[in-house]
């Protein structure tokens, strides 16, 4: 086994002359397979290291004193664990307020986006109305349209209306940016709900709205959760609009904005800011892995229905 691995690495993926291939038809195959057997775990290990190590470093840095980092920047494990960094960042630097702001923005965006996109998605999935074919084009263009172009008029508008510094304006922008995508996501799911179920509800005397409420929504719970969490992630992570609209009022900062603004200051120790990064990242990682499972569950549930 190990004997074949050696020349395999030397041969790599390089093409060999056709004559050699014809002469010993199985040998190149065996060499390549052996090479892959060695290379694959190696590649996977590199990927895990490159993606997981920075986040491990983030956590490790957040639980030590800044002195330790300055004196011994190369060590990964802290010599003395401390949670003072978290107390400092949450309380003194105001991350608790930032988290409250982020939570308000994210939750409000999720709720309103769902309220708007559920009827919209239902209409696109089920009803033939004037222009229902063109709607997709509109959504796609909103999805692809550069935020930096949109930022200019909204910045001017919000300045003129005195909406800068208020979370309301930010929520509005997040809703507008996510609604097209959520309509699209929900539409795909609504289309899998059998029409016959809806027709039965209509015969039982349900109006269209109550059919959506009582029949379609309960059947699409996983899709609703996944869509809601998607909006939550966008709203929690967003930076450009938060920077443009909120930067002048510290008490309205979101966590993303707060970290980016404090990262430039010299007075706050890096380890304290790392604690802030953990605080910023953790909710999203949790939400993402929760929604991933939901998404797959939703898909398999759809498969069972046939």
């Amino acid at each position: 086994m190990s004997r074949t691995a050696e020349p395999a690495l030397a041969a790599g993926g390089g093409e060999r002359p056709a004559s050699a291939r014809r002469g010993r038809p199985m040998s190149r195959d065996r060499v390549e397979r052996a090479a892959l057997r060695v290379l694959k775990p190696l590649v996977i290990a590199v990927f895990v290291a490159v993606t997981a190590f920075p986040f491990l470093y983030m956590v490790m840095l957040s639980v030590r004193d800044i002195q330790e980092l300055i004196l011994d920047p190369g060590s990964l494990w802290p010599r003395r664990l401390t949670l003072d960094t978290y107390a400092d960042v949450l309380d003194r630097q105001g991350f608790l307020t930032f988290m409250r702001n982020s939570a308000i923005v994210a939750v409000a965006s999720v709720v309103v986006t769902l309220l708007i996109s559920i009827p919209g998605a239902y209409a696109v999935a089920r009803l033939r109305f004037f222009g229902h074919r063109q709607v997709h084009f509109l959504f796609l263009s909103v999805y692809l349209f550069p935020a930096i172009v949109l930022a200019i008029p909204l910045f001017v508008l919000f300045t003129m209306m005195g909406l800068r510094g208020s979370l309301l304006g930010l929520i509005l922008v997040y809703i507008a940016q996510t609604v097209p995508v959520t309509v699209y996501m929900l539409r795909n799911y609504f289309e899998t709900v059998p029409r016959s179920v809806e027709e039965a509800a209509a015969i039982d005397g349900c109006t269209r709205l109550s059919t959506i409420w009582r029949v379609v929504l309960p059947l699409s719970k996983p899709a609703l959760m996944a869509t809601g969490l998607y909006v939550f992630m966008i709203a929690w992570n967003e930076f450009l609009f938060a920077l443009l609209f909120l930067v002048e009022r510290r008490e309205s900062w979101t966590v993303s904005l707060g970290l980016s603004q404090l990262a430039g200051s010299i007075e706050i120790p890096t380890t304290v800011l790392m604690a802030g990064s953990v605080v910023l990242t953790l909710p999203i990682v949790i939400v993402f892995f929760a929604s991933e499972r939901l998404l797959t569950e939703g898909l398999t549930a759809g498969a069972e229905k046939g």
Binding site: R33, G74, V124, V179, A263, F288
Partner: protein, 303 residues
């Protein structure tokens, strides 16, 4: 009877979709039209009320913006950053997807680990990179014999060649952060590929690299092409990553960062809008070229 039902359906459909349309119209479409108008007006935050929506149109902003010495280097940077970032993230994503294609113990965990850079907030990961690459206390620099200021050094020598250090670092960040996006799409496609083609290739004696070259890759071109378009569009106008990592300094200034600076520090709305419009137009031109070129290639493949 059927006609009124149809009418009713149409009316209900419009009623249900109208909140969606209203918010996209008010917060996206109308502001965009306004952005175009602003690009042709000589406006600043101070004089905007007196200027009015219409009239006073001029090409002055475009003339000014295009003649600024910083604009063209920024456009070139944007292009290098976008092409390199797109290509790298897709290539790395492809390798990751191929490596994780077959089941193995712990695959779910590896997959989760790979997705984190893409999911984590950009502000947090940018700060993390800044700290790791810091010349004084960054862990990466403790591994090197001589510390490198990755994010604040415009030029450096590597193997006797002059290289744009900060720009390459920003590109590496882009690849690192967005390869999971390509990975997700390509892996999904790989797992949906029919097995019989590859089995037939194995029976015919195709080696793993031959199977990849002649069986797997031809079935992946479509998704790779789609990813290329998506990543190109997103990266070309990206603001967050470069702004957070370098602030546009050390030879990494891209057009979107310029737009932001014109808008906030220079308070020149007209010039900012003009630059954003130029950026969008260049993007559309590149997309049109690409689609034309690619659509041609597609037809050839089908033949």
């Amino acid at each position: 009877m059927s006609l009124t039902l149809q009418k009713q359906e149409g009316r209900a459909g419009l009623a249900l979709i109208s909140p969606t349309l209203v918010i996209t119209l008010v917060v996206v479409v109308l502001p965009l039209l306004w952005a175009v108008m602003l690009a042709f007006q000589n406006v600043r935050l101070i004089n905007i009320r007196s200027k009015g929506l219409f009239g006073g149109y001029t090409l002055e902003n475009f003339r000014y913006v295009l003649s600024e010495p910083g604009f063209w280097p920024a456009l070139v940077n944007t292009l290098i950053y976008t092409v390199a970032g797109t290509a790298l993230s897709i290539a790395v994503g492809l390798v990751a997807a191929l490596a994780l294609r077959e089941r193995f113990k712990g695959r779910t965990l590896v997959r989760a680990s790979i997705l984190i850079p893409y999911v984590a907030p950009v502000v947090a990961v940018a700060f993390l990179w800044e700290t790791m690459l810091n010349p004084q206390y960054g862990i990466v620099n403790t591994w090197l014999s001589q510390p490198i200021a990755f994010l604040s050094q415009a030029k450096g020598t590597f193997l006797g060649m002059e290289v744009p250090v900060a720009l390459l670092t920003v590109i590496a960040f882009e690849a690192w952060r967005y390869f999971p996006f390509a990975f997700l799409f390509i892996l999904a496609r790989l797992q949906a590929l029919p097995a019989d083609l590859e089995e037939a290739a194995v029976v015919d004696g195709a080696t793993p690299t031959q199977r990849f070259r002649y069986v797997i890759m031809p079935q992946l071109w479509r998704i790779v092409a789609l990813l290329a378009v998506l990543r190109f569009v997103f990266t070309f106008t990206k603001f967050d990553d470069v702004y957070l990592l370098t602030g546009g300094g050390a030879g990494t200034e891209v057009v979107s960062v310029r737009v932001y600076n014109f808008l906030t520090s220079r308070d020149d709305i007209g010039a900012a809008a003009a630059q954003a419009i130029v950026l969008a137009v260049v993007l559309v031109v590149f997309l049109a070229l690409y689609l034309r070129f690619f659509a041609g290639g597609e037809r050839e493949q089908n033949r």
